[in-house]
């Protein structure tokens, strides 16, 4: 009787493993190389600037989304919160100007109040989720549906012109030649990455995402941490909404932030964060956001029609996430 040997499996080459572990970075490098070779005028400061300004809102929202996803949640309402914050800014400015007569105070309030409103709504998401134990996807779906409606009701659907120069700095300003919003994004990424790695709340976020019951029994304030991440998501959405308004010098409640939830979630996933929670990387998310932005630029700059662009995007998301997974298993 001959026993059949269980086939031994060859060990993977460690170089290949390393490459795959950084799959998202690899994908980004490939995209950059491709563009450098193919896209006209790609390697120019102008292009860099444009990409940085365009990626900033996605990046900022995606960082917060990473934290939300790390707790095992998800936030579909980010785009709607952007719209609400964006709709509020010109309204607040006009009201403040009429009441106090000071443009400076008007700008300060038109930044502070909308962001506060977005934080409050984000916190509300968290409250609904923790108070009634409703699935995050459903709880935030509520504001996804209703939030834009609220913004539209506030403005009656009209586009509000808002060309206040000081406010416009959010979207149009430069510091040492770098777009201000890009700096905001970098700050958000740095803060997010540091918090997740080194701060108490960061570890608690991961513990909740990994095993909520165990976390609670270990003294993690589950409810508080969850509300915090959704409030942070609100904060990020609020800021991103204001940036979008600033750069367009106008606020359109119908469109500000539309589709942002999908872009942000895709950035998080492409970056290598586990959608089920418990494992997350903020820097990966930044890479993911850059990939998504670069894909967009590549397709537009090379004149790929919209329909085909969608198919390419789909393949890229699947590919990037798949490469990521290879690194882990």
């Amino acid at each position: 009787m001959t026993d059949r040997a269980l086939v031994p499996r060859p060990r993977r080459l460690s170089a290949g493993l390393a490459l795959r572990r950084n799959g998202a970075v690899l994908a980004l490098a490939v995209l950059l190389a491709f563009n450098a070779a193919v896209t006209p005028y790609f390697l120019s400061p102008g292009t860099l600037n444009i990409n940085l300004t365009q990626v900033a809102p996605i990046g900022i929202v995606a960082v917060a989304m990473t934290l939300v996803i790390a707790t095992g949640g998800i936030d579909l309402s980010v785009g709607s919160l952007m719209a609400i914050a964006g709709a509020l800014a010109p309204i607040v400015y006009a009201a403040a100007l009429a009441r106090f007569g000071s443009a400076g105070l008007g700008v300060a309030l038109s930044i502070a109040l909308p962001v506060l409103a977005a934080i409050a709504l984000g916190w509300l998401n968290g409250a609904v989720i923790t108070r009634y134990r409703i699935q995050p996807i459903v709880a935030t779906l509520v504001l996804y549906i209703a939030g834009r409606g609220i913004a539209q009701v506030m403005t009656n659907g009209n586009v509000q012109s808002f060309a206040q120069p000081a406010f416009g700095f959010l979207g149009l300003g430069r510091i040492l030649g770098v777009p201000f919003q890009a700096l905001l994004m970098v700050a958000a990424v740095a803060a997010g990455a540091f918090a997740l790695k080194r701060s108490l709340v960061g570890r608690q976020i991961l513990a909740i995402g990994g095993n909520e019951r165990a976390a609670r029994l270990s003294g993690v304030p589950v409810v508080r941490v969850k509300r915090l991440v959704y409030a942070l998501s609100g904060l990020a959405s609020g800021v991103a909404g204001l940036i979008t308004v600033a750069i367009n010098s106008s606020s359109d409640a119908n469109l500000v932030g539309s589709g942002m939830e999908l872009d942000a979630i895709a950035a998080v996933a492409v970056g290598g964060t586990l959608l089920a929670g418990g494992r997350a990387t903020v820097v990966g998310t930044l890479v993911g956001a850059l990939i998504i932005q670069l894909v967009r630029t590549t397709l537009i700059a090379n004149g790929v029609p919209d329909a085909a662009a969608l198919v390419v995007k789909a393949a890229l998301i699947l590919g990037a996430v798949w490469i990521q997974r290879q690194g882990r298993s």
Binding site: P40, Y41, N158, S161, S249, D252, L255, G303
Partner: protein, 301 residues
């Protein structure tokens, strides 16, 4: 084929207005115009919004039929999918007037299946924009085209009209054409990227005002002078863009007036009075450029 439904003469009517969507200024202006006119006449208006879905719009029309309205104003989302709604209304003996977009005449014929179409000719808008641009640039231009939402008839017709007219000028070429979904933000982003990849472009054609305004921001942030380095031409002609034409930042815009209220209700009344109604009522849209913008600005919508 059975006759067009009749409309009895009454002091007041219950009419439906099935709007396509309300996510841009143009649609909002159209809705407001319809609502204002209904209020002025003392008619009861059943207003629905299809949220960009042709299928929902059919359901909306059906619910108006169920409610027994006297007439329906329909701004059809699409050329073909709305046919069943029109046929249902006809079967129920309800007068239908189409606004701003027509339906496929092979499937439902104006004057036979519904009373009339009132609106603009999108292809014509594209053609007029192209011809103005040819004149303004002496037939020499490298054009960036910002398309409307992929699949929308306003987008494909405005593109078709423009592209066909441009083809007659050997010195004019469309160097890039991408959708920016009729929105200001996308218009800016897409134009930014296009301008970067095609620094030699000299003109931008946008399928609506919002994208043109977004593109204008992109032109400025690329360090170019609008009107000098880059000529912008768009379609719609809202007050905001006519002001920019006056300022010289936008070259020209072809009007596509959303204020359908007065004409739509007048047509309905004329029909009730027994007058004969032409099946196609095309708006006499204006064309704004530097020569007339200042003068016409007060009358822009």
């Amino acid at each position: 084929a059975p006759e067009l439904p009749k409309l009895a003469k009454k002091a007041t009517y219950k009419v439906g207005f099935a709007q396509t969507e309300s996510n841009n200024g143009w649609r909002i202006a159209e809705t407001n115009s319809m609502q204002d006119e209904a209020k002025k006449l003392g008619y009861q208006l059943v207003y629905t919004d299809a949220a960009s879905s042709a299928a929902k719009q059919v359901a909306d029309v059906n619910s108006m039929i169920a409610q027994g309205v006297d007439a329906i104003f329909l701004a059809p989302r699409e050329e073909k999918p709305l046919i069943p709604a029109i046929m249902n209304a006809k079967k129920a003996g309800i007068t239908v007037i189409l606004l701003d977009r027509n339906v496929d005449q092979k499937l439902a014929l104006a004057g036979r299946d519904y009373l009339a179409f009132i609106g603009s000719d999108f292809i014509e808008e594209g053609r007029r924009s192209a011809e103005w641009l040819a004149k303004a640039t002496d037939g020499k231009a490298k054009i960036l085209e910002l398309e409307g939402t992929t699949g929308a008839s306003a987008a494909s017709d405005r593109k078709a009209g423009f592209d066909a007219a441009i083809a007659k000028f050997p010195g004019m070429a469309i160097v890039a054409s991408q959708t920016a979904e009729f929105t200001r933000d996308k218009g800016r982003q897409v134009a930014e990227t296009m301008l970067q990849a095609h620094p030699d472009a000299t003109a931008i054609y946008a399928h609506n005002d919002d994208m043109a305004i977004g593109a204008l921001a992109a032109v400025k942030s690329a360090g170019k002078v609008p009107g000098k380095d880059i000529v912008i031409v768009s379609v719609d002609g809202a007050k905001e863009i006519v002001e920019l034409v006056v300022k010289g930042e936008v070259g020209a815009t072809c009007e596509c007036n959303p204020r359908f209220g007065p004409k739509a209700f007048a047509t309905l009344q004329a029909y009730a009075d027994g007058q004969s109604i032409p099946p196609l009522i095309i708006n006499a849209d204006r064309f704004y450029d530097a020569s007339n913008a200042r003068e016409l600005l007060p009358t822009a919508f």
